[in-house]
Each structure stands twice: as C-alpha cells, then as structure tokens.
C-alpha cells in the first residue's frame, strides 16, 4: 500500500508518475466486500423484519382477546366467569414477564386506545397501570436516547398516567426538540393546569405544528374550562402571544380588546394578523383607528388583512381612507381589496370599468328601424327561436333589449300609471291588440330612462302569462330575476324614521307602477327630494334598492324594526329563489324552441344565460353573505343581549343519572316500577324529566309483571378456585390467593382451611391471611344492607349478588345519589407488580 501511495507523489513535473493500479484493485476489493455485506444485510434485515412482524402479529392475536376480555369483564358475572377471569389474569401475569410480550401489550393498548371511549377507556388506562406497564414507560424516561424518552412520554400520555405529570414537566424546556414537544403535549393532556404551566414556563419557540397539536388536544379535552388567555398576551415569548391570540379566538374570549388593539402595533406580522382575526371575530370597532394607523407600514398580507377587517367593521367614514389606499397603493391585490371594501361598505360605489364600451356606440330606440307590432314580435319570436342559424346574443344585445319598444312602452309612462300599463300591455299581448301604441311610447324613452330596472325574465313562461291580471304575480320568479342592491339601514332613530318615510313615499309611488313584485327603490342621496321629483326624468342608475321579500299580500308597512327582523328565514327564502333561477335556466338551456319574445330568447341562449346566471348567483351569494353579516351587526349593535346564539343545555349530574335510570326502567321495567316512578315524579322539578316519567308511568301501566328468575344458589359449597389451584406453580398460587381474598366469599372458607392445614408454609400463611380478609369482608357485607336499609323497612335482600327490589322503595333522590356515587370497582384486584416481586423474593 505504501508503495502504491508513494507512486502518486509528484517528484517532478517532467517525470511520468507511475500510477500503481494496486490501489485501485484494493478499492475494488473493498467495494466487493461491502457489496457482499450489503447483500447479506439486505436479506438479513428483510428476514428479520418479516420474522419480527410475524411474531408481533401472532402475539397480538393471542393477547388482544385477553385484553378485550379484561376490558369487557363484568364484575357481576357468574362465578365461573370470575374464575376464568382470574385465571386469565394469572396467565397474563406470567406472560408479562417477557419484555417482548410487554412491548406487544403496550402496542395493543395504544392501538385500542384510539377506538375506545368512556368507561372502557378508563378500564384500559387502569389495566395499563395494573399490569405494571407504566413502569416500562418510566424506565424509558431515564434513557439517554431522545427517541426512547419521547416514546415513554407518549405512552404515559396516551395511557393517561396522571402521576407522571411531575416527571414529564422537567422535559418542558429540554433542548432536544422532539422530547420537548412531546412533553408539552403530555402535560397539557394530563392535567388541566398543564396549559398554564406550559405557557408560563416555556422558553423555546412554539412551532405552528405544535400549536396545532396542542389545540387539538384542548379541543378534545372533556369538560375543559380554558383559562383567560389574555394573561399571556404580555408574554415575552412571541409564540406564546401568538398562540394565546389563537386560543382566545378559538374559545371566543373577548375580554382583552385593549390588548388586541395594542398588538396591532406589534413588529411580528403573524401576531398582527392573529390580533386582527380576533378583532374581526369580536367586532372590536374601536380598533379601526389603529388599523388605519399601522396600515401603511405593514406587509402586503397584513395590509390585505387590515382591509378585510375594515370591510367587516367599518362604515361610510372609512371610505376616505379606502380611497386613499386605492390612490396611493401600488400593489394590485391591495388595491383590489380596497375597492372591494369600498363596495362592501357602500355597495355599487365602484362600478366595473374594464371592457365597458362608450355609451355613444349603443343604438337608441330613436335610431331603430320601424318597430313591428306586438303580434308580429311574438310571432317572430317563435320563428326565430327555431331558426338553426340564429347567432347567440351577447351582453350588448341584452343591453339593447333594455331599450326595446316592448319595455319602453312601460317605462315611458308616469310612474303612477306604469302598473296599469303593464297589466294593460299583458292583456294586449295576449289579445294581440293595440298595435300602434308602442311608437308613441318609444318617443319619450330618452326623457325617462328606466334602463336601470332589472329585466324580468322567466324562461319557463313568457311575459304574457306573467303579466296576466289573474296570474297572481309569480313573485318568486319575478324577485329572483331582479338585480337587487342591498343597503344596510342605519341604526339611529332619525335615519330610521327617514327610512320609513322614504319607504312609504316610494312604496306609494312605486307600488302603483310595478304592482307588488318590484323591490322598493330609494335614491342614495337626497332621497326625499328625489322622490318628490319622481315624475321628472331621472338617472335611475343612482338608485339603491332596499331589499325586502315582498309577498303578494304585502301592504308595505315597513318599519325599521321590521327590517331588522328580517331573519335567516328570509335569507333562506332567497336561496330558494336562487335555486329556482338555476332550475329555470337549465330548462331554458334545453328548451330552445320555446315560444318566448326576442328579448327573452337572447337570454335563453346558452352562453349568455350561463354567464348571467352565474354572475347573478355569485353576486347574490356575496350580497346575501354581506347582508347576513350586516343584519348580525345591526342586531348586535341594537341589542347586545338579544343577539345571542342558542346555547346547548346540558343535564347536570343528577339529571343525567335520573335519565339513565329512566332509560333502564323503560328497557327492562314493568308495572312494578310505577310506584318508583310516581315517587320520582313527585320530587322531580325538571319538566323534561317529569314528562319522561309521566310517559313511562302510562307506558308501564298495562304491562305484565316480568318473571325474573333469580339465579339459584349452587347447592354444593365448593370453591371454584380449588379445581385449578393444584395445577398452578407456587408463584401463581400466591397470586390466586390474592384474588380469592378480593373476590371470594363463604364458599372459599373450607378450601382455605384445607390449604392452611395441608400446604407449604408460604401458601399456608397466605391462605390464612386470605381467609381473614374474606371473613372481614363477609362481616362488612352483612352490616352494609342493615346500614342502607334499616331493619324495620327491609327493602332489599341480597341473594347471590342479585338485588331483588321489594314493594317498599327508597326515596328517589337516594337512589340517584347512590348511582352517582357508586365507586368504580371493576379492577379492585391488586395487581401491583412490585408486590409480586416481593412475593417471589420471599418464595426464594
């Protein structure tokens, strides 16, 4: 090797260096060896992994049914089942001596944990500790490997070992991120105060993912009462502040408005955005000034966020600011957002400008050639509709249609005559009369431009039927086709009164014009003046339409309060209309040969129709959302108390127990339960529960008494443990004696006496101890019924563990209280692994 390396030292530039190929062959040899090793490793790992997977699967198949048996074991089961259960415990005790089995057991419990809840989950947690598996997890905490510590913390958290809280808190500021994050989740999961501790003590940054996980833990925590998060808005850790803001929003804690406003000036954009999110959510109008203040120095996304909040909280006073943003801001998105805000605050303030053609290119009715009589129009309509080469009309065509003679005839008239005129026109169309009237009407069109009025389109039926006097005005269809601009009514009394006056004036005038199907139209500015000048030519594009659903029989007595009471039902009705229009348009798409006038036909053409329908739907949706929001805000401003979301009503503990009892009675009871129910009914104050009781009394009145066969006592006094006892090892025998002490009764006494007399010292001692415990237990059992039921009453008898109720019934409250305070005793058996180890030592 030395020789081969020496070769590459360049002694001189002019001498050919000798490339010794030995080095390359050495490399080759190394690589070949490595290839061989890797080849071996590949199959070694593959086999090992496969074997391990198979072994785990096999062991899981064995252990899972045992665990399930434990979890669903009923303490009141038969003696045989109890014996099996104890045998199972003994078996599992032997199995967990192996570390592999313990590992698999932990895996199984962790897996089952995902699918269990309630009492069974509690049993699972208890089982984990009773099997001593938590000791394994504690051991992991002592490891130097970060992954083992994390795994240990995870296991203790998942198995809800509250005692581990203290041990885990020391990892809360661990320098190893995985451990630290696992510890954070753990302490929050294990104890309610964990979150406070975490937010108070963490010195590290909290990643977004960690926040997400912690929030998930909190959301899934039952009966969790969150602390007031505004305490952490002053934290030096920016991530704590950010997380506190998010939690405030999530838990709807609106008690830190001043801090929220102050946080708008924070350097951190994320905090700014989170604060804005809260401000928007809690409707903190006071923040508007600060929002405008910080706007200019903010980043693009913050600017957009600010504009979003302003559009939500702001009023007309913000328009100036928004206009200045439009003028000064260079970013397209910010500018667009600003324009959108203006339109949200003051609808239709900003009109489309792109692709809008100059007015002079449009043909006015004056320029049009001679207008055909109505009859011809209708005839032409049907013929054109069937023409195969008919080109699809574009929006300009529709625009022109607005000036068509058909409408001009209507718009031309003074408002108070318009309604009559419409009806008259309908009649004319149907009866095909008054052919020459249009020409004279058309001439005055320019002076009375009603082009702003929405096109009334009903693709399903022509205008003829719509305007028929006896057609009851298809309101839904008509309204759904209107272009409606929503305007929020101010809350102040003056404005409200003005509004009423305006509505009344407008209503008086317009109701005459367009009967009942048109929306109310109110000019935005100088409303009263304009209304007084209604007969003069107007630019009606300036008008704002106040939305209100108008029914045929509506008599237009709208008041501000009436407007405020437009609730979600009204909005839902609009949604119905939207659906109607969609349906009708779909129909019109397919029904190209329908007999509709030209103006409608153009809209029935597919392309235009789809586009207009979509625009309409989108604008309507947007407007509806805005309206919902504004209605909310109006109501909220008016009456902070009345504007409340319905809150769920929960039963308290006593009521829940009573309901559970009633459920049981309904499922299992018969007429014998009626006295109890009467008693309960008498004492019950909750109406729902009383009703349920009354119902049950009626229901059970006619039922026959169910024959409940009590389980006959085993005539032979034989201990069920005796059969298997002799086949067990000493260690297991000792365990079984522990179990006997816990679950045994008088039948075990002869068996234990025999053991004391004829067994080894160890077993004998244990049996003696066990016998003593059983005797004590039996004594206490005898005393208990006496305590619960004084001898004079004798309401209960205990018969083989089954309680048979007699005619005399305990007071209802006592029963419920007992149910509520009944201790959880599924796993009363002592399963402490340390005890076992001590016993083993003794045995040795």
């Amino acid at each position: 090797m030395k020789r081969s390396l020496d070769t590459y030292f360049l002694n001189t530039l002019f001498v050919s260096p000798q490339v010794n190929t030995d080095l390359l062959w050495t490399f080759t040899l190394i690589f070949v060896i490595l290839c061989g090793l890797y080849f071996g490793f590949i199959f070694f790992f593959r086999n090992k992994l496969s074997y391990r997977t198979r072994a785990i699967e096999k062991r899981k198949k064995e252990l899972t049914p045992m665990i399930v048996e434990f979890l669903f074991y009923d303490e009141n089961s038969h003696k045989e089942e109890q014996t099996d259960y104890i045998n199972l415990k003994v078996e599992i005790r032997e199995l967990i001596n192996s570390s592999f089995n313990r590992k698999v057991l932990i895996d199984i419990l962790m897996y089952l944990r995902k699918d269990l809840s309630g009492a069974t989950l509690s049993k699972l947690f208890k089982l984990y500790q009773e099997l001593g598996l938590h000791h394994d997890s504690y051991e992991k905490l002592k490891s130097w490997k970060w992954q083992r510590i994390s795994k240990g913390i995870l296991e203790l958290t998942q198995m809800n070992v509250e005692e581990s809280y203290v041990f885990i808190t020391k990892f809360i500021n661990d320098k190893r991120a995985t451990i630290r994050k696992q510890a954070e989740v753990a302490i929050i999961t294990l104890k309610a105060e964990g979150l406070n501790y975490f937010l108070d003590t963490t010195t590290y940054r909290i990643s977004e993912w960690q926040q997400l996980k912690i929030l998930e833990v909190l959301i899934n925590k039952k009966n969790y009462l969150p602390p007031s998060f505004n305490h952490w808005l002053m934290s030096k850790n920016n991530d704590v502040v950010l997380f506190a803001l998010r939690l405030m929003k999530n838990y709807n804690q609106s008690d830190g408005n001043e801090a929220l406003i102050e946080l708008l000036k924070h350097r951190n954009s994320d905090i700014k955005l989170a604060a804005m999110s809260c401000i928007k959510e809690f409707h903190v109008v006071d923040a508007l000034e600060n929002l405008k203040l910080v706007f200019w120095d903010s980043k693009i996304d913050v600017k957009i966020g600010i504009l979003d909040v302003i559009s939500s909280l702001g009023d007309i006073q913000e328009i100036t600011f928004l206009e200045s943003v439009v003028a000064k801001e260079s970013n397209f998105n910010v500018k667009s957002k600003s324009l959108a805000c203006i339109n949200i605050i003051q609808p239709m303030s900003v009109l489309p400008t792109i692709d809008i053609q100059a007015t002079d290119i449009f043909t006015t009715p004056m320029d049009l050639p001679r207008v055909e009589p109505e009859e011809q129009i209708i005839i032409k309509k049907s013929s054109v509709a069937t023409e195969p080469n008919k080109t699809i009309r574009n929006e300009h065509d529709i625009a022109e249609d607005r000036f068509s003679p058909l409408e001009s005839k209507v718009e031309d008239k003074p408002p108070n005559e318009l309604a009559k005129s419409i009806e008259a026109k309908s009649t004319i169309e149907v009866e095909q009369q008054e052919e020459s009237k249009d020409l004279s009407d058309k001439q005055t069109l320019d002076s009375f431009n009603l082009g702003f009025l929405p096109l009334i389109i009903s693709p399903e039926e022509g205008p003829v039927s719509k305007y028929k006097p006896n057609n009851n005005f298809k309101i839904a269809g008509a309204i759904s086709d209107l272009e409606v601009v929503f305007q929020e009514f101010r809350n102040s009394t003056d404005e409200a009164q003005k509004g009423v006056a305006l509505i009344e004036n407008t209503k008086n005038n317009l109701s005459k014009i367009v009967a009942e199907f048109l929306p109310l139209v109110i000019p935005v500015e100088e409303k009263s003046e304009r209304i007084s000048e209604l007969n003069e030519p107007h630019d009606y594009t300036e008008l704002t339409v106040v939305y209100s659903e108008i029914l045929p029989e509506t008599n237009f007595h709208l008041t501000p309060s009436a407007i405020n009471t437009i609730d979600m039902k009204d909005i839902r009705n609009i949604e119905c209309d939207v659906n109607e229009i969609k349906n009708s348009q779909r129909k019109s798409d397919t029904d190209e040969t329908s007999d509709t006038p030209e103006i409608y036909e153009s809209l029935a053409s597919k392309r235009v129709n789809e586009k207009s329908a979509l625009e309409w739907v989108l604008s309507e949706n947007e407007a509806r959302l805005e309206m919902k929001q504004k209605l909310k805000s109006i109501l909220k401003e008016q009456d902070g108390i009345s504007f409340k979301l319905p809150k769920p009503i929960f039963y308290n503990e006593r009521e829940a127990n009573t309901m559970a009892l009633l459920d049981d009675i309904e499922a299992l009871g018969d007429s014998r339960e009626i006295p109890l129910l009467n008693d309960l009914h008498k004492n019950e104050t909750e109406i729902t529960i009383r009703e349920r009781m009354a119902y049950l009394i009626v229901k059970l009145e006619g039922t026959e008494v169910l024959k409940r066969q009590p389980i006959k006592p085993n005539s032979e006094v034989v201990s069920v443990f005796e059969k298997n006892f002799s086949s067990l090892a000493v260690q297991s025998q000792l365990i079984m004696l522990d179990e006997i002490a816990l679950v045994g009764d008088e039948k075990e006494i002869p068996f234990l006496r025999r053991l004391i007399a004829a067994s080894s010292e160890k077993i004998s001692k244990k049996a003696e101890k066990c016998l003593g415990e059983i005797l004590v237990k039996l004594n206490s059992q005898k005393q208990k019924p006496e305590e619960l039921n004084p001898p004079a009453k004798k309401t209960k008898t205990v018969e083989e563990g089954r309680v048979v109720r007699k005619e005399n019934i305990e007071p209802a409250e006592d029963i419920i209280e007992k149910i509520a305070t009944k201790p959880f005793n599924v796993f009363d058996i002592d399963f402490d692994i340390d005890m076992e180890q001590e016993d083993l030592k003794d045995a040795k």
């Binding site: 080759t28 590949i42 593959r46 909290i206 993912w209 997400l212 929030l215 789809e610 979509l614």
Partner: protein, 475 residues
C-alpha cells in the same frame, strides 16, 4: 523525447481520472453516511404520533395544488379525481390547462360541470393570456379550479397558478402523479414543524408506479416494473432519493426539488418571480433562486425533504423518450448553473456556494462529459495501441464495484425503511444494480452529452413529450 512527453501526458490524464474517481468514491461514502443518519432520524421522529388527528384543525393552513395539464385528455379526469380525494381539510386543486390541443379542457368541463367565472387578474402579471377561470357548479367539486390559458410551457402555467392562488402554500405537481391520501398532511407537518427557521419549500420522494396497481386513485399493490428500462429507473430513483437527497437534506443543502412533487411558500416563490420560463430545468432553478433570495435577505430558512413514498409517477418505458427526458434535465441543469454562476465557490452562500454548487457542477454536469471523454480516450488509445490495459481494468473494476455498492446500499435502505418489494423483486433489483453501469448508465451519459451539445451549440430543443399509458387498474 516525444514518446516520453506523451507518456507523461497520458499518466497525468490517468491521475486526473483517478483523483476524480477517488473523490467520487469519498463523496458517495460520505453521502451514504449522511443519508443513513437522516433516514434514522426521520424514522425515529415519525415513529409515533397520528397525523390524521390534526387534519381538521382550525389552524391547519390552506394549500393550493397546482397541476399544469398539456394534452392530458386521456387521463385528466381520473387524475383530478385522485387529487381531490386527498385527506386534508383545506386545499384547492388548481388545474392549469396550458393551451392543450386536445380535448383536455372539454373533458374537464363535462366531467366536473364547470362554468366560467369572472376573476380579476393583475394586469402587470407577466404570463400568457388567461382565457378563463372555471369552477364547478357542484359543491362536491368546490375544491377544483380550472384555469384555461394560452400555451406558455409548464413554468408559465405554474406561475399563473401561483399568482391566482390565495393560499399560503402552493404545491406544484405533475397532473399524472399519484399522491397518497396522507401526502398533504406530511407536507403541512414539514412546513409547520420548524420554529427557528422558515420552511420555504418541501420536496419529496418520487416513486416509480409503472406496473403498480392503482384503483380509484389509491395505490393497491406495489410491483416492480415489467419493463427493463423502468426497472433501471426505479433503481436510479431509489439511489437518488433515498441516498442523494437525504444526504443533502441532512446538511440543509438540497438544491433541487422534483417538479413532480414540490411545495412552496407562496410568498417567497412569488418574491423571486416564480418559475423561470426560459429554462427547462425550472424545478431546480426556482430552488436556487429561493435559496439565494433568503441568503441575500439574511433570513433563517430551510428546505424540508420527506423521504416517505408519497408521490408515485410513471417513468418512460421508451428509450427515445428517456433520452429526451435526460437530455432536457441536462440542459436545465446547465442553464441553472450558468444563471447562478455567482454562487460557484462563493463563501457568501455558505455550504451552498462551497459544497452544493460545486457538486452539481463537477458531478452532475461535468461527470458525464468526463466519462464520455474517457471513453473516447480509451478508444483512441486502444487504436493507437498505447492503452494502459492494467490501469483501464483496475479503474473500471473499481468504478463498477463502487457503483454496485452504492446501489446495494440504496436497496438496503429501501428494505430497511419501507420493505415494499418481495424477495424476488429485491433480487431482481440487485441483479439490475450489477448490470446497470454497463447497460443503463451509458444511455444516461449519452443523453447528458447530447443535452450539453444542444445547449452549447444552441440547437433548438424543447420539452419533448411522453405518452402516458395510465396506471394499471386493480382487477
């Protein structure tokens, strides 16, 4: 004297090759070590925790998946369906029809009941004109947005999508790729798990889906490709993604995220102007740009790499298509290196300038040229009868065995980490690893030489095309 001089030159040439090869060996060994460390770390870190729990969190970020489509009429409907069935609460699928000449758009309109909507577009945004933005009438397809635009290439389509998206993160994928249902959860975790550094991009492994059985957008059975060329590519992908990128990821010097599965912080991606439309190596170029931008802004950042097999794609089974693809990759590589030559051994860019860029320069761009030159030299020397046979055999054996060793190591990690192939398939892969340097590698080298030739001599060439066969359906 002349002979002696020639000998000296020849010996020096041998030394150049030897040093190059030795450094390459060293590099690969270091790479294997780093990849092992990173893989183990990743495996331990992700061995516990349930991603699905946070799927519907109110703090979960919104993501837009941008999928450019050009003449994808055959598979577009199924591919979109697959994209819309991912397990995540808040994401948008934005398909950009890049002026397809076939019925791609019409098929989407028909299948998903799309209608054109109005959307304001920044007039200053430079991309090919947008013909329309489509949304579905059905609520169940509300995640889907289709953008129809004039043809401008993949980069232009992705830029348009990025611009029209409003979400914080955007994913740029190939529309024919199959994403596993949990893919977005992994991506979000990668973006969100860092607290000290801003994650500006997340990339992932691309796995070969040829011959795999896919049903309803789900991967039903993983199989080794039947086609020999695809088998070689599978081996190559395994080596590249499980070793190469894991290693670079370990030292935070990853300079490429595959165009088939790359997610970006939209703000940073837009700040650097999105994808470069003048290069065919846009996926590499954007990472260079974003990294440079963050370096120059002196912001703490990182790029995350997910080794889990989340994205499956079809690789070319036709030799001509493969050569075109590799030709394009080489040109893209060269264009990117050329554009960012300021980083070359520039300490200002730290590891990027001193390690990553030189690696790409010497071992991704220069190596094929050197190999090709070496081959020519061998032929020439053999013709002139001056070939040092001993050296030739020694270096060939060393390079060959080294290559096999690295491939074996990659297969070992594949088995250890995922163990997705059966014994027979693993044996087949190992066999292909042995013959790869003699059969497949020359094809790749030739493609790279062709790409360099085209680029250096400005031979006009575009993207080429790949005819998709579609994934096998489960019976």
């Amino acid at each position: 004297m002349d002979d002696e001089f020639l000998n000296i030159i020849l010996e020096y040439m041998n030394i150049v090759f030897l040093v190059f090869t030795t450094v390459l060996f060293g590099g690969y060994i270091v790479m294997c070590y780093l990849a092992t460390r990173n893989s183990l770390h990743y495996k331990h870190k992700n061995s516990f925790g349930d991603l699905s729990k946070v799927m519907a969190s109110p703090l979960a970020p919104s993501i837009t998946i941008i999928a450019p489509a050009y003449n994808e009429g055959l598979t577009i409907v199924d591919n979109i369906r697959s994209l819309m069935s991912l397990r995540y609460v808040d994401y948008e699928v934005m398909v950009v029809n890049d002026g397809s000449k076939d019925d791609t758009l019409q098929k989407m309109i028909d299948a998903y009941d799309l209608i054109k909507i109005e959307q304001e577009i920044d007039p200053e945004w430079k991309s090919k004109p947008i013909r329309g933005v489509y949304k579905s009438k059905h609520r169940s397809f509300s995640k889907l947005t289709v953008i129809d635009k004039e043809n401008g290439g993949k980069s232009d389509a992705l830029n348009t999508g990025m611009h029209l998206s409003t979400n914080r993160y955007v994913g740029c994928i190939d529309v024919d790729c199959l994403l596993l249902p949990d893919a977005l959860l992994h991506v979000v975790k990668s973006f969100y798990q860092r607290s000290e550094k801003r994650v500006i991009a997340v990339g992932g492994v691309i796995r070969v889906a040829n011959s795999c059985i896919i049903e309803g957008g789900q991967l039903e059975e993983i199989k080794l490709p039947n086609n020999w060329l695809a088998k070689f590519q599978l081996l190559e992908y395994t080596r590249s993604f499980l070793l190469g990128r894991m290693a670079w990821g370990r030292i935070d010097s990853l300079l490429i995220i595959s165009g088939a599965f790359g997610f970006f912080d939209r703000e940073i991606a837009l700040a650097v102007g999105g994808y470069d439309t003048n290069t065919v190596g846009e996926d590499m170029e954007i990472i260079f740009k974003m990294r440079r931008y963050m370096h120059e802004q002196r912001l703490a950042y990182t790029i995350e790499y997910i080794p889990d097999p989340l994205c499956w794609t079809e690789v070319p089974e036709d030799l001509k298509i493969l050569v075109n693809q590799r030709d394009r990759w080489t040109r893209g590589n060269l264009e990117t290196l050329q554009k960012h030559k300021a980083m070359f051994f520039n300490p200002k860019y730290g590891r990027l300038g001193m390690m990553s860029y030189p690696y790409w320069f010497f071992y991704e761009w220069l190596a094929p040229l050197l190999e090709f030159t070496g081959l020519l030299c061998i032929l020439l020397f053999w013709y002139l009868n001056i070939l040092n046979w001993e050296f030739f055999f020694a270096i060939t054996a060393a390079v060959w065995t080294c290559s096999i060793m690295v491939s074996f190591y990659a297969v070992l990690w594949e088995v250890y980490s995922y163990n997705q192939y059966n014994r027979k398939d693993v044996l087949t892969l190992l066999l292909f690893a042995i013959i790869e340097p003699l059969v497949y590698h020359p094809i790749v080298t030739w493609s790279a030489v062709r790409g360099n030739y085209k680029k250096l001599f400005k031979v006009k060439s575009g993207w080429g095309s790949q005819v998709r066969k579609g994934f096998a359906k489960a019976s």
